[in-house]
């Protein structure tokens, strides 16, 4: 089915999210939609699914104007969307999630359909498991199978590779190509150029809600980048490796539970000034390791030593780790580290150490304004944390970071950020903090690890399978280690 957007505009109150966007996606093709965070890609797609209403313009399906006022109308017309954050029901089982929103069918029929589709696309899903136990990638697979089962004609994917592992990506991409070959119209929203180039035959670029570029394959990357950002962002040359000092974090023979596989026989020593990237498939143990070092979870066996002090067990560990100048920033900004409904200024008041009862409004206001300027946060002191974009939330978190931190633990620090915001974060981390501060971060982007870290540690199923200096390691060896192949491991 051909999808034609004609002069679509959308405003949220005063904010113009989309201005006069027109584009056509043809059947049997994968059409890429790229742009920075907040360029309007997701909004345009949510309008197509009827999840959000448009302010003006029209949408034509196979040349006929379509009424898309709610998702029910859109799905009746064969439009389905894979949302960036899984739109599913974590406590319900895989089968229940699969059957919600599909036409009325018996349990056996659904069970059979799920099984056949899983086999066809090479996904491994247990129908009776509650979805909250699965990884984001697996939840996405269920949703994808459900949409296919509903016989959709137009498939929208919103940043489908955000939370999924490289292996799941390897399973997803051929599936998408297969679906396009079967006649589906696929719209792929992304800010990852490599993926778009790999999959799409046509690309449309949005910038600040306006269409800036449209082209068919082969793609000229510099042109696309100019259309996305207005100028080509230069990746700063890799900073010189920093000097290593005395060891500050020592993990010895750690056994811990967490994520899918826990953590086994984990021996890591981190020295002052090191920047370490943690690589591995989604849920292979990186997050467990970061939380272990932060004192958020205690090891079942073994000992964590921070700055020559061994961490106590239980709830005290996190407080002790903070006293020892260790800071942790989790990936889930709004759920684990910021208060969604509290203003920026109040975030700074909360951090104030003095005065149990009274707070000086002028002082915190001044501090907040200083932080907004230094960290170029787009917002005012009275804005709520949830109103900020992902990049600005991350900047706010950095501005709240204890300046005296000597060990910084970051879980996927550039999650959901565009290239520029990501670069800004890294520039700040490298330049503003004292050079003997150690940074440990996890990231699903191998490029980010290779580019910013001095040392790489690869996790697989809860084991450390590779630990070496980045300069001595090839891309291939790391990828092999991540997928569990032991060749190339020193």
């Amino acid at each position: 089915m051909d999808v034609e957007f004609q002069h679509i505009s959308k405003n949220f109150g005063q904010v113009q999210a989309l201005t006069d966007v027109s584009l056509t996606a043809r059947s049997s093709t994968i059409h890429g939609l790229i742009g920075e965070n907040g360029a309007g890609k997701s909004t345009l797609m949510k309008i197509l699914t009827g999840y959000q209403s448009k302010s003006s313009g029209s949408i034509l399906l196979d040349g006929v104007e379509a009424q898309l006022n709610n998702p029910s109308q859109a799905s009746n017309l064969g439009i389905g969307m894979l949302y960036q954050e899984p739109m599913d029901f974590p406590p319900l089982t895989v089968l229940e999630n699969f059957s919600l929103g599909t036409p009325r069918q018996s349990r056996q029929e659904l069970h059979f359909a799920l099984k056949t589709l899983s086999i066809r696309f090479g996904f491994d899903l247990d129908p009776d498991l509650p979805v909250e136990l699965l990884t984001v990638g697996e939840r996405q697979q269920i949703e994808l199978l459900r949409l296919i089962h509903c016989n959709i004609k137009v498939l929208i994917l919103d940043e489908p590779t955000t939370g999924i592992s490289p292996a799941q990506k390897e399973a997803l991409f051929p599936a998408l190509k297969q679906l396009a070959a079967d006649g589906l119209t696929i719209l792929l929203v992304s800010h990852k150029l490599e993926e778009v180039a790999n999959l799409c035959s046509e690309v449309t670029v949005l910038r600040h809600g306006k269409l800036t570029h449209h082209t068919a394959a082969p793609f000229h990357f510099p042109k696309l980048l100019t259309a996305m950002f207005g100028f080509v962002p230069k990746r700063k040359d890799k900073g010189s490796a920093r000097d290593k000092g005395s060891p500050i974090l020592i993990c010895k023979n750690i056994e811990a539970s967490g994520e899918r596989q826990g953590l086994h026989q984990c021996d890591i020593t981190v020295a002052e000034g090191e920047i370490i990237g943690l690589a591995g498939l989604d849920g292979a143990g990186q997050s467990t390791f970061l939380r272990l070092a932060a004192g958020l979870i205690s090891p079942d066996q073994g000992k964590v030593t921070l700055f020559n002090n061994s961490l106590p067990h239980g709830a005290k560990a996190y407080i002790r780790a903070q006293e020892l100048h260790t800071s942790f920033i989790p990936a889930d900004r709004l759920e684990e580290s910021l208060f969604a409904g509290i203003s920026l200024r109040d975030h700074f008041s909360l951090r104030e150490e003095h005065g149990m009862f009274w707070q000086s409004r002028t002082r915190t206001r001044q501090r907040t304004e200083e932080a907004i300027t230094t960290f170029s946060i787009k917002g005012t002191p009275e804005d709520l944390a949830e109103d900020l974009s992902g990049g600005n939330q991350q900047r706010l978190l950095l501005s709240l970071l204890n300046r005296n931190s000597r060990l910084i633990l970051l879980e996927n620090p550039t999650r959901g950020l565009d290239i520029q915001s990501g670069q800004w974060i890294w520039q700040h981390l490298r330049d503003e903090l004292s050079p003997d501060t150690a940074i440990i971060f996890s990231s699903p982007e191998l490029d980010e690890i290779l580019h910013y870290s001095d040392r790489i540690i690869v996790f697989h199923d809860g084991n450390i399978v590779l630990d070496s200096a980045v300069a001595d390691t090839s891309h291939g060896a790391i990828a092999a280690a991540m997928t569990g192949m032991r060749e190339g491991t020193p």
Binding site: K46, T49, Y51, Q52, N70, P71, S72, A74, S75, N76, M81, Y83, M87, D88, F89, P90, P91, L92, E96, S99, L100, G101, R104, R107, L129, P130, L133
Partner: protein, 327 residues
């Protein structure tokens, strides 16, 4: 058994006393599974009891009385639903205010009917009554409300676990935004659940004034039952069978209180009347402690352990009490 009560008598009284509470708690479960807390329960039970008694008295028809109770409940459901689902007001505030309003309204409107005789639903004889042993005869002579309550447990359990509509309803309670994205209408489903639930609460109220504690007055005897119903839903883990078992436990505590009163004449009777409430809370807390371990079991790969875990696992619907606003 306990005091003057023989075992068959005890069982029969527990069954009779639990029936209205089961119906009320199931009604609340229905609403809460869809994500709406109907906090007006306590007042609505009295309001429906009053309406049922008045209508039954005026028309001399039990059936119309029960219907009036259900409709009175549904009327309050319309208010709770409209204000919290469509106007996005706080469910807690609306429910609480309505609870107080309904209670006072019931006392005020029901005043002329205080302490007078009215139609009462008596226990009905089963068709094969005469062929039963005497102890079973005692246990099984129950008013229709008992059989209705037991039937409802089965129906609602089936509805949640196996029906498509029940799955849709649960999905709205978990994540209304995702339900909307899948083409469901969360507001409509929630409204239907609230109305259906409120109707059941009304029937439960009618069961008090027309059967268990016949008549109207101040106090009627159903005071505080709504709050117990709300607590039962939480501690029963939003599972209809466990909720019903909790209601039976509460009825047992109430009934045995009466028996114990005869055994210990020295203790003031108020102690036995109020004892079920704190005892209930202690029992439920005790049950609650077993849930954290059973949650882990619920995810275990062993089928048997998973079943055991499911039996004791309790978790509130994720979207409970939050008003869903469509983007």
């Amino acid at each position: 058994m306990i005091g003057e009560l023989s075992l068959p008598m005890l069982i029969a009284s527990v069954l009779a006393a639990s029936a209205p509470l089961i119906i009320i708690a199931l009604g609340e479960t229905l609403a809460e599974k869809s994500g709406v807390i109907n906090l007006s329960l306590d007042g609505v039970v009295l309001f429906a009891a009053m309406a049922a008694f008045v209508v039954a008295k005026e028309t001399d028809s039990l059936l119309l009385g029960f219907l009036a109770g259900g409709c009175a409940g549904m009327l309050t459901g319309v208010i709770v639903g409209y204000f919290s689902i469509y106007l996005h007001l706080s469910q807690v505030a609306v429910g609480f205010a309505l609870s107080l309003l309904c209670r006072d309204l019931a006392y005020f409107l029901g005043n002329p009917y205080s302490r007078i005789q009215g139609p009462t639903m008596l226990s009905s004889k089963l068709p094969f009554y005469d062929s039963l042993p005497s102890s079973l005869q005692i246990i099984l002579s129950q008013p229709l409300t008992v059989w209705l309550a037991l039937l409802l447990v089965a129906i609602i359990y089936y509805f949640f676990s196996f029906s498509k509509a029940g799955l849709n309803l649960r999905s709205v309670g978990e994540n209304p935004a995702a339900s909307f994205a899948r083409g469901l209408n969360p507001a409509k489903i929630q409204m239907l659940a609230v109305l259906g639930g409120a109707f059941l609460v009304g029937i439960g109220g009618a069961a008090y004034s027309l059967s268990l504690k016949p008549g109207w007055g101040r106090p009627q005897g159903a005071e505080g039952i709504g709050w117990i119903g709300l607590a039962l839903v939480i501690f029963g883990g939003w599972n209809p069978i466990r909720v019903a078992l909790g209601a039976t436990l509460f009825a047992f505590l109430q009934v045995s209180g009466i028996g114990l009163q005869d055994l210990f004449p020295g203790i003031p009777s108020q102690v036995f009347q109020t004892a079920p409430f704190p005892l209930m809370i202690f029992t439920l807390i005790f049950m609650h402690f077993s849930t954290s371990r059973s949650r882990k079991q619920g995810y275990s790969s062993s089928r048997l352990q998973r079943l055991a875990g499911k039996l004791f696992m309790s978790r509130a619907p994720k979207g409970l009490g939050q008003s869903y606003r469509q983007e």
